[in-house]
């Protein structure tokens, strides 16, 4: 599997993929963080979905990662696109047959790809966290936010937890992308369906169906990224998302193993 992982890393590190993806992730995080601090007194809100986050709230130990947690779902969408594209492109380019000639074990191919993309997702999360936390420190004084508690033990613990949750959620979104890529075998179709589902369909369903926000996979991963919400506990969201991902992953893996490679 190590050979698959190294081969996959060669594809992922190509400048046309790695640089724009990292730039997009850092740009989105920087934008979310900047808006949080620059619009701190805005009556139309400075946080997700127009909520107002005060300087007092941001001065708490977990205030240091508030903006990063807000951006985590967007990182997940980026991961979904990367995982889906990297998986489905093997079918559209016809390169899967080359891979299987050099590594006939389909499960090793799948697992190696997954681990390589998860490492890539980790890099996305890590660089975005660095940008977000760095910008938070830089913008805090102008926004009259105290950073004293950010460097406390609780503050450091909040950073570790936020990183772990964001990584978990990002890999979760990525796994959904990989499942779509394997099932649909077309990057454009897999990405379109994935993004439309996460950003439009789930929001529409949660608006019209009672408690839908407690069952929809993307929303569960969003809750995991935020470390839990008032209406949905962290452990519950993690469990529900895990069930979706497990079922999808088993289905996709069985299909990948059994399906003829005819293109």
């Amino acid at each position: 599997m190590i050979k698959v992982l190294r081969a996959e890393a060669r594809k992922l590190r190509r400048p046309t993929l790695a640089l724009p993806t990292l730039a997009a992730a850092m740009g989105l995080t920087a934008l979310t963080t900047s808006l949080l601090y620059l619009l701190i007194d805005s009556p139309s809100g400075n946080g997700r979905e127009g909520i107002r986050v005060s300087a007092k709230q941001l001065s708490l130990p977990d205030g240091v990662v508030y903006s990063f947690q807000s951006a985590a779902t967007l990182l997940g969408v980026i991961a979904l696109c990367v995982f889906a594209a990297q998986t489905a492109q093997e079918y559209t380019y016809g390169t899967l047959r080359n891979l299987l000639l050099r590594e006939p074990s389909r499960m090793k191919i799948l697992l190696g790809k997954y681990v390589a993309m998860s490492i890539f997702a980790f890099l996305i999360v890590l660089t975005s966290a660095a940008i977000s936390i760095g910008l938070s420190f830089a913008l805090a004084s102008d926004a009259k936010v105290s950073t004293v508690l950010w460097t406390s033990l609780d503050g450091k613990s909040a950073i570790v937890h936020a990183l772990a949750n964001a990584l978990l959620a990002t890999i979760g979104f990525g796994t959904l992308g990989m499942i779509l890529g394997l099932l649909l075998r077309s990057p454009i179709t897999a990405i379109s369906i994935g993004v439309i589902w996460l950003l439009i369909v789930e929001n529409l369903l949660s608006a019209v169906v009672k408690n839908a926000d407690k069952w929809l996979p993307g929303m569960q991963l969003g809750v995991v990224a935020m470390g839990g919400s008032l209406s949905n506990a962290y452990s519950r969201a993690l469990g529900v998302a895990g069930i979706y991902i497990l079922i999808g992953a088993v289905l996709a893996a069985v299909l990948f193993k059994r399906r003829d490679v005819a293109n």
């Binding site: 050979k3 060669r10 492109q89 390169t95 080359n98 299987l100 050099r102």
Partner: protein, 303 residues
């Protein structure tokens, strides 16, 4: 394990719903030979190759590659190189980087990449992106990828597609060199004249069925040979036709030339018949049908 046969195929069949792609295919490819694999488009060549490489599961039947059953491709693929249905690579990666991906995956040394780039004539272009390659360059890269494992068996599907005459000549020479060094080459191509020049063995498919497998020389010898006869004076043509027909032979006249459908050793008899009738011959040329003519004859004229 010592084996004299590189590929054995026995009643191999692939069905997609009601459509039969390959039907009870049975043939063998001897070790160390160059074996041509021919058939019209859609005759099942690529499906057969994919089954041999473990990419497609047969509906029924069996096959072995280098002595191993095809349901265990991990046993033999490390000794097999293949290019199926044209070269497939990542467009955004360079030719060298594409080969490095496959070399890493197969556990081959990175130095092999540079070596193969030179072998297939891509020296100086290895760092260009695959998407910027011409069709011929893509084909060369595909052949380089197939050669990565220094294969005991090389399976190539239309390797000369997109190559210019010089490129075709280079590939022909390369395949001959590989065969001389003990590599078995199983190659499908529509360029039958090329196959005739390099292959000893042939497997011919039509509509999913194997209609010939064996030595090309046996196939050609089994075909109706003919002797091309040209009288010195064109005015003697009709009389010469009558003389040969009266001796019980079949004669066809095309563009003033006489084609007598007899084996090669009948040349002397035709010469004697003409001499006895007072006709001088300008030329008397025994002709065997080409592989292309035989192919069209056996596949019912399908391209």
């Amino acid at each position: 394990m010592v084996h004299e046969i590189a590929i054995t195929v026995s009643n191999l069949t692939k069905k997609y719903d009601e459509q039969v792609a390959v039907s009870n295919a049975t043939f063998e490819v001897p070790l160390g030979a160059i074996c041509g694999f021919v058939g019209p488009n859609g005759s099942g060549k690529t499906t057969t190759i994919r089954m041999l490489l473990g990419l497609i599961k047969p509906t029924f039947g069996s096959a072995t590659v280098l002595g191993h059953e095809i349901d265990r491709p991990e046993k033999y693929l490390s000794q097999v190189g293949a290019m199926i249905e044209g070269p497939a690579f990542y467009p955004a990666l360079s030719g060298e980087e594409n080969l490095h991906v496959l070399a890493t995956l197969g556990g081959f040394p990175g130095s092999r990449v540079k070596e193969l780039i030179d072998t297939v004539g891509l020296t100086g272009r290895g760092n260009s992106k695959f998407k910027n390659y011409s069709l011929g360059m893509k084909q060369r890269l595909g052949i380089a990828a197939a050669l990565l494992p220094n294969p005991q068996l090389l399976i190539l599907d239309e390797p000369t597609n997109g190559l210019d005459p010089a490129g075709i000549h280079e590939i022909r020479t390369l395949l001959r060199e590989l065969a001389e060094n003990g590599t078995t080459v199983f190659v499908s191509s529509h360029l039958l004249s090329e196959l005739e020049m390099i292959s000893e063995y042939l497997v011919m498919l039509r509509e999913g069925n194997v209609i010939f497998s064996g030595l090309i020389s046996d196939l050609l010898e089994a075909q109706q040979s003919q002797i091309l006869v040209k009288p010195e004076f064109e005015t003697d043509s009709d009389r010469l036709v009558a003389v040969i027909r009266s001796a019980g032979h079949t004669v066809e006249v095309k563009d003033g030339l006489l084609y007598v459908l007899v084996p090669e050793h009948f040349s002397s008899e035709i010469n004697r018949l003409a001499f006895a009738a007072g006709i001088t011959l300008q030329s008397l040329t025994p002709m065997l049908p080409t592989l292309e003519e035989t192919f069209f004859d056996m596949t019912g004229g399908q391209a």
